[in-house]
Amino acid sequence: MDKRLLRLLVRSLEGTLKKRDRHRLDRALSESEELRRARDEIEAMRRDLAAGAARSFRPGFAGRVLAKIEADRIEDDPQTVHYKRFKAVFRGFALAAFLVLAFLITYNLAHSELVPRNELLYACDQTVGEFLNLPIF
């Protein structure tokens, strides 16, 4: 089928054809069953598109939008922003303090005479042979 005629057909449905094109299309429609079928199909397709359009979102849509706006407003509130910043900074300090403390404890325990390092780490100086010669075997 002549693509130009098909385009004229589609434009005719928008009511934007010039007189000369309108006459040309009308003549072609009267002569071609294929073009008439195409016209019917396109008209049906346009009706199906219009009928298939969603008319709303889920029930309560407006309420959800307003709730979201309210939640964003609280999120953007200066007090909330400051609190979140404080939390983030505090978390950083807390982690650093924990690491320093863990290091100090480990260091002190390792250098302490009360608890030898080997005992702390369960290190054993015995060989496998000596271990197997123990009375329990």
Binding site: E14, L49, A51, G52, A54, R58, F61, A62, V65
Partner: protein, 187 residues
């Protein structure tokens, strides 16, 4: 913008919840038609619909009133829908066209045996397979109910371009539907 819209906007800017709700109710239908037309009846459309209005209300102080509120809101809806289409492209080979109706489902019009036949389902599937630039024009003109002139304003395109895309889009859609129909009949 007419006096009623201007009044609603002024009140919404002052935080009047009723005015904001009125704006949402006024434009819910064209936004729903636009977003579901571009993306299909997928679970994300409700979130995208919500985000459309949220962004509008965030930006309304900067809105100069050189277009109608509806035009501005629909532009936001189209941009968000296009972003979602790009996101889907990155993660899937082909967008799903028919989603099961769950608790997030947007109500589909005409869901009865008499109304919703294979034809409408084919048209819906075919639309999702159409290139976004044609799909957007068809959705605005034929689903959301905007005139060619309004569609051109929303998309910031010359009217001639809109008409050209409408005509090429419908022709392509018809080919896609024929192909889908043949596949369906051969199955």
């Amino acid at each position: 913008m007419d006096a009623i819209e201007q009044g609603l906007l002024d009140r919404a800017r002052q935080g009047d919840r009723l005015a904001m709700e009125e704006i949402i109710v006024r434009y819910e239908r064209p936004v729903a038609a636009t977003v579901t037309g571009i993306l299909g009846f997928s679970p994300e459309v409700d979130d995208i619909g919500q985000e459309t209005f949220v962004r509008f209300f965030r930006a309304m102080d900067r809105f100069r009133g050189d277009s109608r509120i509806g035009t501005y809101i629909i532009r936001i809806a189209i941009n968000l829908s296009r972003t979602e289409l790009k996101r889907r492209k990155r993660f899937a080979a082909w967008p799903e066209t028919d989603f099961p109706d769950g608790e997030n489902a947007v109500p589909r019009p005409g869901r009865s045996p008499e109304d919703d036949g294979d034809a409408r389902s084919l048209v819906r599937d075919g639309l999702q397979r159409l290139e976004p630039k044609f799909r957007t024009v068809l959705v605005l003109r034929l689903m959301s109910g905007y005139s060619t002139q309004e569609t051109a304003k929303i998309l910031r395109l010359p009217q001639g371009t809109v008409l050209s895309r409408l005509s090429r889009g419908q022709a392509k859609l018809r080919e896609i539907i024929e192909e889908l129909s043949c596949r369906q009949n051969s199955d």
